[in-house]
Each structure stands twice: as C-alpha cells, then as structure tokens.
C-alpha cells in the first residue's frame, strides 16, 4: 500500500507534469501552424468578427491606446485644441484623408470602407470617449490590423494636434459648417473672385473661371480638389491664420518645395499625400499659378514697441554676437529664386517654421541646411518678435 502511494506520487512529480504540459503546448503550436499552413484561418473581410473576438480586439486596442497615450503623449503648452485656427488647419486634410473611410457631416462613409473588417466607425459619437492625448496617439501612430494608418510625417506633431482640434469640433458639426471648414467651396466658380484674381485680365473663352482655364499645364483639377482648400484660390491662405500664403511667392521656391514634400525631404502629413501624386509639369504649373497671384496685405502692426524693435533687429541685423545672421540678407526680392519671401506671411506659420528649423525638425529644398544653421540659436522671444515683425511687413516689390 505504502509502496503504491509512493509510486503514484513519483508519477505526479513536477517534472512529469511539466513534461506533459510542454508536450501539449508543442502539439498545440504544431496544430496552429498546420491550421494556418493549410489555409484554414478565417481571413475573409466579408464575415466580420465573432462578437467575442470583436470584444477582445476592441478591449486590447482601447487598453493599448490608453496605456501608450498616458506614457508617451504630452500636450505642448502652446497647443490649445479649442483654437478655431487649429481646427481649421485640420479640416481640409480630414476631407481628403479621413472622410472617405470615416464619413463627415452630411457625407456617408464610402461603400468600399463599409465593406472593411473592422469597419471604420463614424467618428462623431466616438470622439467624446477619448482624451486629447489618446486621440493624438491614434492619429499619430495608427492602429495595426485596422487599416488606420500612422501619420505620414513622423516629426509633424503640430499637424497631428490640429487634427485633434478638428476632431474635438466634429461632434454636432452641421454639413454647412463642415463644408466651410474643409474648404469645399473654395474652388466654386465665383465671378467676384474671378474679378479679384485677374483685374483687367483676359476673359476665359466661354466665360469660365480662371481655375478652369488652367488646362495647360493640367492643374485645374488639382487646384480645385487640393490646393485651394487650404491655400485658397487667391493664394492668401483663406485669411484666417491657419495656412501659409503662397500668392506672389517666388516660383522656383514653390516648385522646389513641392519636390521636397514629395521626396519627404520636407515633412508634412498634409502636403506629402498631395505632392507625391504630382508630375513635375504639374508642380511647375502650380508654382507658376501661385507665384503669379498678387500678394496680400500686410498683417497688423506689432503693438509692443520692445517686440517690434527686437523683431526688426533680428530681421535686418541679426544677433551677430550669438551667430544669428540677418533674415533680410537672404529673404528678399533680389536674392536667390530658391530663397522664399517671408514679408506679409502669416505670423503663426512663420513662428511654427522657425521653431521647427531651430529644433532640427524642418527639412526643405537643397538649401535647407543654410536655414537650419541660421535658426539654430534663435530664442523663443526672438522667434516670436521676428515672426510678428515680418507678418506686419507689406509684400516686397518683385523684380
């Protein structure tokens, strides 16, 4: 009796138990592999998920986003997601990049998107479930296995924050408001705009708009579908401080910048998707179009005398004692066609670019390193002052 009990105990020793478990696991792994190898795994998007699978996948996704957002996302102090200009900046991209799958106010999700597994949700009712940081994390990184892509420009967190600002405004947005924010009407033929664009210019054959006339090179459609939604048909950035002004910019610089966006030498999740699809002839045509428009009026003069003096000093003399050269030596109408004009440009845009240059996050044309080295020693106060000063300057006379 005693002997039998001992034998039993020996049989149940940890060693034997581990051996059994290991063999079972190995069998399961081989079975799983054979299951996949034989092509039996359910990969059809038509069937959707079992509800238990769907629950588990969502659970894993939500937990993953919450944990990662808590660990890795910190909202910069100068980002205010309630800022209307920030939301405006995100809207046209939402129209091109997000609405086809997620829909938009008054616009259904495409039938193609609805045939996906998982189905991209309409976002209006989902946005309130997430914090700003979590929304940022999702837009920045995308969601694996869900077809939600990562942001195409890794260093453009400012763009991702503008998407968050737009998403915050999305719940309850009316179709009219959506259409206005996304710039869907910017390309609408308007006689008033036509007159403003080409004062005294020749009428288009058939009375069409200036946009429609641009068939050679063939850029009319790109302008209408992409460029004007942000930059406006008049190239003045829709006048709300959300987008850079292109009107009257140097043509060679605009062309080189489009190429830089397409090559990802200058990062932007907004510009790259548009630029990669352009032929060189189209880039040249677009550059010519915006370069040929009359530059807009100057911004408001800087009210603070100290900031005005500092801005003027940085622009015209630089800060030689710290190795910062004068902006005006390169940014003027008489300098290289690859050096952009910055007088009259939007203040926030200038400040954003200068910060990116200083932090080493900004690329551009082949001259990018010149600007990077020029900006690397600017202080916050100097960036603010010189951006405001240039915004207040009128556009220069072109040669």
């Amino acid at each position: 009796m005693k002997r039998r009990a001992r034998t039993l105990l020996r049989r149940l020793s940890w060693r034997r138990r581990l051996g059994t478990i290991g063999a079972f696991l190995a069998l399961a792994a081989i079975g799983g592999f054979v299951y996949a190898w034989a092509g039996l795994a359910p990969i059809s998007a038509r069937s959707g998920h079992w509800s238990a699978t769907a629950w588990f996948l969502h659970f894993a996704m939500r937990q993953g986003v919450e944990t990662r957002a808590a660990v890795s996302v910190a909202k910069p102090e100068d980002v205010d997601v309630a800022d209307p200009a920030l939301a405006l900046r995100g809207a046209p991209h939402f129209a091109g990049g997000c609405a086809p799958c997620h829909g938009a106010p008054g616009q259904a999700r495409s039938a193609i998107a609805r045939a996906m597994t998982p189905q991209p949700p309409r976002l209006e009712s989902r946005i309130p479930d997430w914090s700003d940081e979590e929304l940022f994390w999702i837009v920045q990184n995308g969601i694996k296995f869900s077809a939600m892509p990562a942001w195409p420009a890794e260093h453009r967190e400012d763009e991702v924050w503008s998407m968050v600002a737009f998403l915050r405004r999305l719940p309850g947005m009316t179709p009219a408001e959506w259409s206005r924010l996304a710039g869907l009407e910017e390309a609408a033929p308007a006689p008033v705009r036509e007159a403003a664009l080409a004062p005294g210019g020749p009428e288009a054959p058939g009375g069409g708009t200036r946009l429609r006339r641009l068939v050679d090179p063939p850029i009319g459609e790109i302008l209408a579908e992409s460029c004007v939604r942000c930059h406006g048909a008049d190239g003045l950035g829709r006048g709300e401080g959300a987008f850079p002004k292109l009107a009257g910019q140097k043509e060679a610089y605009l062309h080189a910048s489009l190429r830089a966006y397409a090559r990802d030498a200058r990062q932007s999740g907004f510009m790259r998707p548009v630029a990669v699809g352009l032929t060189d002839a189209q880039m040249r045509g677009l550059a010519e179009y915006y370069a040929g428009l009359p530059a807009g009026p100057a911004g408001a003069p800087v009210s603070d005398a100290g900031a005005r003096a500092l801005g003027e000093r940085v622009a015209t003399i630089g800060v030689p004692e710290r190795g910062v050269p004068a902006c005006a030596s390169c940014h003027g109408p008489e300098t290289s066609p690859w050096y952009p004009l910055i007088s009259g440009q939007d203040e926030r845009y200038l400040a954003l670019q200068l910060e990116a240059w200083r932090d080493g996050d900004r690329g551009g044309t082949v001259f990018a390193q010149v600007m990077r080295m020029a900006a690397e020693r600017l202080t916050d106060a100097e960036i603010a002052a010189v951006s405001a000063w240039y915004a207040a300057q009128g556009a220069p006379m072109r040669r």
Binding site: P320, E321, T335, V366, M373, A374
Partner: protein, 322 residues
C-alpha cells in the same frame, strides 16, 4: 631629400618654434628654457654617474658623516636651491613676459571663436577700427598690446616664436604684449582644446618693417575694390544673391554681416578658414562647397548645391579681394 614646396600650409603659416624666438618675451622664455635644459642635463649626468659608481665601484664602507652629508645635501639642499633659483628666475622674468602696457604700442582687440580669429586694429588717428580675420601683421621693434576675449568657449592665444600662451576666457579680457624682434611669418594657434576643429584654428603673424606695416594696415582699412573681370562680377552677384553678406562683411559693398570673418581683403591672406586650406580659387570652391569635410562642425553652412559656374565665379571674386 627635396625641401617641401613653399605653398604647403606649414610654410604658409610660418615659423612656430619656441627655440627660434622672434619676440622679446619669447627670447626670455627660450633663454630660461636653455638654462633649464642645460641644468637638467648636468643633474642627470651627476645622478647617473652616482648610480654607476654605486653599482660598479662599491661596495666599500663609507664614512657615515660624509654619506649623511651627501644624502641631505644632494637630496634636499641642492634641489631646494636649484628649484628656488629657477623660481626666482621665473618670477624675475614675469614682468618681462607680461610687462606693464607700453606707451605707443599697436593696439589690437583679438577674439577667439570656434574656430577662427577676429581682430580689430584700434585706430591711431581717430579713424574707425580696422577689422581683419585669421591673419595679423605687426611692425618689427614696436610692442603690440593684444586684448583677448572669447564669446563662446575658452581658447588660448599662442604664437610660439613671439611669446608665451594667454588664455581667452568668455566674460573677461586678458592681455598679451608681443614685441617682435625680427621680420618673418610666424604661426599662431589655439592652445586650449575648444571643440571639434580646435586643431584647425591657426593664423599667421606677419612681422614687417614699420613702413611696410603701415602700408599693410592702410590696405586692410581700405574698402574692397570692385571686381575687375566679368566672371568676378558674376561672383559678386552670387555673393549677394545667396545671402553670404548675412554673415560676412565686404566693406565697400552691401555685405555687412558680423557673424563670420570680414572678407574685404580675404584674397590677400596666406590661408583660408583659419589655416585650414591654402588660398587659391580651387581652395575657395572646396571650402564653400564642402565646409564640414574641411572643418568639422564649423558654423558655416556648405553651399555645394550652388551651380558649378556660380561657385567658380564666387571663388574668383573672393580670390581677387586682395
């Protein structure tokens, strides 16, 4: 073995031996050095001689009193006397090496920067100061007072043939007096490690007869002459077009930048980029298009993206600024 050609950088930058002094304080330092060297040789011979004696000619009993005298005298008294003597000599030299500021001296403000030298000759007759860079000239036989500063990190000003070293320290001014005693070209260098291109931070000091020096200074004070050839004129246009004047001044033109070296007479200098390259049109092209290959981390952006013709024209223009 053939002598190296005269356009090597070493030849262009000039003599740099402390043992062939060309300045008053350098001569005093050299004299002390020779005495130290001679004295040290003597002491070394005596010590080695005693060791050989002890190893090969002993051991016999010595008189204990004499041994004590030798140990105490040779081990404590003589070293104390020698070192005290050297110290006294050094202290006595100090006023000569760092004399009270002489009257009638040439006055120069020198700034050491990463990795070049900015200098301003103080006006003697109420005119404005004359800015130069990476090359100094001094009249022989007349003292020069150099006021040294640095805006970035600690550098050290050293022209071995003319004088000892003097640190250049951010936030304060140090002074060194150079009194050249013979004409020639003497190499100066930064003698305090100051970053990636510390070793490429040299300059030439041209010691001239007083009349030649006056002419040199007048030349440096004059504005640049307009470019002569069409190609050089194109080079001048390139200089403006690409914003070179944001950092560099060429007096007599719009370019008035004060970030990098004054280039008004850059073509007259013996070397480029603070002794990094000789000074020929090809060297300008190399420097401008490939700055960081020549001089790692230098604060000038490379302009290798300029069209070749523009680069060549720019080089021609700068080389002609004599």
């Amino acid at each position: 073995m053939a002598a190296p050609p005269d356009d090597t950088l070493a030849a262009l930058l000039g003599e740099s031996s402390v043992l062939a002094p060309a300045g008053r304080s350098a001569a005093a330092i050299a004299e002390l050095s020779w005495w130290l060297f001679g004295g040290a040789t003597l002491i070394w011979l005596v010590v080695i001689g005693l060791s050989i004696y002890a190893a090969y000619f002993g051991p016999r009993a010595h008189d204990e009193a004499k041994v004590r005298l030798l140990v105490v005298g040779g081990g404590a008294v003589i070293p104390t006397l020698v070192l005290a003597g050297v110290l006294a000599w050094g202290l006595w030299l100090m006023p000569q090496v760092k004399p009270p500021l002489p009257q009638g001296a040439v006055e120069i403000e020198v700034e050491g920067l990463q990795w070049w030298w900015r200098a301003r000759y103080r006006a003697e007759t109420g005119e404005t100061a004359v800015p130069v860079a990476n090359e100094l000239a001094l009249p022989v036989g007349r003292p020069a007072v150099l006021r040294l500063t640095s805006p970035d990190v600690i550098h050290s000003f050293w022209v071995p043939a003319l004088a000892g070293k003097m640190d250049m320290i951010p936030g304060r001014e140090t002074v060194i007096v150079l009194e050249p005693t013979r004409t020639g070209v003497f190499r100066g260098a930064c003698a305090e490690y100051c970053g990636a291109s510390h070793a490429l931070m040299s300059f030439a000091v041209l010691v001239m007869e007083p009349a030649a020096w006056e002419a040199w200074l007048a030349r440096q004070a004059a504005p640049a002459e307009p470019p002569a050839s069409a190609a050089a004129q194109r080079g001048m246009a390139v200089f403006t077009e690409y914003g070179c004047g944001a950092c560099h001044a060429i007096r007599g033109t719009e370019a008035d930048g004060d970030v990098g070296p004054d280039l008004t007479h850059v073509g007259s200098r013996r070397t480029l980029a603070a002794g990094a390259l000789p000074n020929t049109p090809d060297d300008y092209v190399r420097w401008i298009s490939d700055v960081h290959e020549v001089k790692p981390d230098a604060n000038m952006p490379p302009f290798g993206m300029l069209p070749e013709g523009d680069l060549a024209a720019l080089a021609l223009y700068l080389d002609g600024l004599t």
